[in-house]
């Protein structure tokens, strides 16, 4: 029995790996590859926020600012000094990680929706600095002419080749996140999410882990930013506005907050679904909004939550027949 299921798993993984590796060959146009590449970047950011928010319970709406740190590091170094992506990547990760850690500092004092506003405010402030300090960042017009990467003389220029770079980053990012969650760090995150008072009583250094969770979130978004800059070869401050953070949060929620697989599912499902319904114009976004409301009201665990439920309860119970359980509590109390 056990053997069989592990065989099944191997076959499943094999098929998935084949599809993932062969995707640029199956795709009929470069645009489809581009959309999946973008989805890959969203998955990275979603993994980051899932660690900070889904597992550690830290609300954070400054994702766009983290991404901007990565993207601007890469863009400035590349256009001014010709630094390649391979060096920009670690630098962007470090800078975005530091930004994440800094944004975590107010979290030690401010909670819940107060915290939501503080993170929005910090992200907006970073954006305003980018817009105004034209001498350094080129201002609202943005930076163009970023070079696509090259590896051993092979240019990674079309979306198809870039896809493999994104794929590697996503796979590494996913495995790293899993490692973190299997490590005692991950258990500390969950303890803090469930109750920071109890975690403290257990001897966990809450502040340290909260800062760490947000720094990790920053690193993930930084990777996405560096990739974005080198992929589209152009960045401007409006790319990293609040709406980007909202989009990533939405896909994480739809996939399943507090589940790494949820990030993957949400990160793929949302951009692709929106793409399918593009022809409906404004109705597309009305549908998008309604879908979010439905997920929140009836399936708060997201797609992964539904899947788990179906597994647990083979008899199909209608979701609205149950009392909604509380998933991924972001804050134990509203007021400190």
């Amino acid at each position: 029995m056990k053997n069989q299921s592990s065989n099944m798993k191997r076959i499943g993984l094999g098929i998935a790996a084949l599809v993932l590796l062969g995707f640029p060959l199956i795709a009929s146009t470069r645009y489809q590859v581009h959309i999946v590449n973008m989805a890959g970047l969203y998955i990275l950011m979603s993994l980051g926020i899932n660690l900070a928010m889904g597992y550690c319970g830290q609300i954070n709406l400054a994702l766009g600012a983290f991404m901007a740190m990565g993207a601007y590091t890469a863009a400035l170094l590349n256009t001014r000094m010709g630094v390649p992506i391979w060096i920009n990547m670690p630098l962007g990760m470090i800078l975005a990680g530091i930004t994440g850690a800094l944004i975590a500092l107010p979290m030690l004092k401010v909670k819940s929706h107060y915290l939501a506003l503080v993170t929005i405010g910090l992200a907006e402030t970073i954006n305003i600095i980018i817009v105004n300090e034209t001498w350094f960042t080129e201002g609202p017009l943005g930076i163009s002419g970023i070079k696509m990467p090259e590896l051993f003389g092979i240019p990674i220029d079309g979306a198809e080749r870039f896809y493999y770079l994104v794929l590697i980053c996503v796979v590494v990012g996913y495995l790293a996140a899993r490692q973190i969650m299997n490590h005692h760090t991950g258990r500390a995150f969950i303890a803090i999410r469930d109750s920071d008072v109890a975690a403290r009583a257990m001897g966990i250094n809450v502040a340290k882990y909260q800062i760490m969770a947000n720094a990790i979130c920053g690193v993930y978004c930084g990777v996405a930013g560096v990739l974005y800059a080198h992929m589209t070869t152009y960045i401007s401050p409006d790319i990293f506005e609040f709406k980007t953070a909202l989009f990533v949060l939405t896909m994480t929620m739809i996939g399943g907050m507090g589940s790494l697989a949820g990030s993957v599912v949400g990160g793929l499902a949302l951009p692709l679904t929106l793409e399918y319904f593009r022809a409906f114009k404004s109705w597309q976004l009305v549908g998008f909004g309604l879908a979010i409301m439905l997920v929140v009201l009836f399936f708060p665990g997201g797609v992964i939550g539904i899947a788990r439920r179906l597994e647990q309860v083979r008899g199909l119970r209608l979701p609205w027949a149950r009392k909604p359980e509380k998933p991924a509590q972001t804050e134990a109390s509203h007021v400190p």
Binding site: A16, L20, S236, K281
Partner: protein
């Protein structure tokens, strides 16, 4: 955990497999079929903001381009083929714009694209259209657009400095010395503000004050009060139609008696509507084209525009119409009809007389220079003819 991993990976597989076929579904031709059969339409894409604050720019673009294309189709199309316009909404978001540029280039396989009316999105799209060798048209006015070394970008209207230079030279000649600038922090506003400053510098002047504001701002009392302390003779606006209108209104209400002036955005009915006719009265602006231009071509355009869209033509509709005329000409001449040849033919256009004046396409992709000094009179945009 492990189970959900399998589940997720299977989902990945399903989604990817599904993704490989769908979006191009409407495309009828099988790969082997002759794509150039007579009667198969030539596609032109419009990528622009059709929703959000910038929706009005996208709407004007759609109207100008569609009008020119429909007229051509009625006259028999290009080489016997009809032209089809496909419209996409990029919400003025460069990320979305880049995706759509990939889409129209690789899926719709368009002959040319309008992308976009926002300078940032236009800049974001340049590398993609250059890579696919597809001519890209814009009516964004930022100078940088044509400085990126692409042979496939064309600006269907004069660049920003062309507007601001004419404006400031005129005002300086009238004896004005004290200028204040209020510019928003978007690419357009900041660019126009910089061109205004540069033009002042050329005239050995500096602005008394330059103030900034965010594109979402509605109250400008702080900025304007500060500006008025410098007692400027001229208030230069560098922002969108709506924000310019609100600023003009609030400046007058705060007691500003001097001249209000601005570039392309000020020369639109939307500005007059927002500021109200009473307050817009006497505002000076520069534009290459006015709805009440006397020549026959303009009159025909204004009539056709009104008949088609049931609204008055304005500058953006005119410049996208002009640009599309250039494109149609280049398509007529391109042989065989490929995007690359169209771009090459575009560069050869010299001396075409359009609504905005005479077009001479340069290597960089500029098509026209020169603007007229105009004034708002009785709520109407009119050419300035002296006092």
């Amino acid at each position: 955990m492990k189970r959900s991993l399998v589940f997720a990976l299977l989902l990945v597989a399903v989604l990817l497999a599904a993704c490989a076929s769908p979006t191009a579904a409407p495309a009828p031709a099988a790969p082997g079929a002759a794509p150039k059969a007579v009667g198969e339409p030539i596609k032109i894409a419009i990528i622009a903001a059709m929703s959000g604050t910038n929706a009005v720019l996208g709407d004007w673009m759609k109207k100008g381009v569609t009008l020119a294309v429909e007229e051509k189709n009625k006259a028999g199309g290009i080489q016997g083929r009809q032209i089809q316009v496909i419209v996409y909404d990029d919400e003025a978001d460069p990320t979305k714009s880049v995706g759509l540029a990939q889409k129209v280039a690789s899926e719709d396989k368009v002959m040319a694209a309008w992308a976009t009316s926002n300078s940032t999105s236009a800049l974001a799209d340049i590398p993609i259209f250059a890579q696919y060798k597809i001519p890209q048209f814009t009516n964004g006015t930022n100078v940088d657009i044509t400085n990126k070394g692409s042979a496939y970008i064309f600006r269907a209207t004069p660049a920003g400095p062309s507007f601001e230079d004419t404006l400031i030279d005129f005002l300086v000649k009238k004896g004005m010395k004290k200028f204040a600038i209020i510019a928003d922090t978007s690419a357009y506003g900041k660019g126009e503000g910089d061109y205004q400053e540069a033009a002042l510098k050329r005239n050995n002047l500096t602005a008394t004050t330059r103030e900034a504001f965010g594109i979402d701002d509605k109250d400008f009392t702080g900025q304007l009060t500060k500006i008025l302390q410098g007692q400027p003779e001229v208030l230069l606006l560098a922002s969108s139609e709506v924000a310019s209108g609100l600023i003009a209104k609030q400046a007058r209400q705060l007691g500003f008696k001097g001249q209000i002036a601005g570039g392309a955005a000020v020369g639109t009915p939307k500005f007059v509507e927002t500021a109200t006719a009473e307050i817009a009265e006497g505002v000076i602006f520069t534009t290459p084209w006015l709805p009440n231009d006397a020549d026959a071509q303009s009159k025909a355009f204004v009539t056709a525009y009104k008949a088609r869209w049931n609204e008055d033509a304005e500058f953006h509709g005119a410049n996208t119409y002009d640009g599309t005329q250039l494109l149609l000409q280049a398509m007529e001449k391109a042989n065989p009809l490929t995007p690359e040849n169209v771009a090459a033919e575009m560069h050869k256009i010299k001396g075409y007389k359009g609504l905005q004046g005479t077009f001479n396409v340069t290597d960089k992709g500029e098509t026209i220079t020169g603007t007229l000094v105009c004034i708002v009179k009785g709520g109407k945009l009119t050419v300035y003819t002296g006092n």
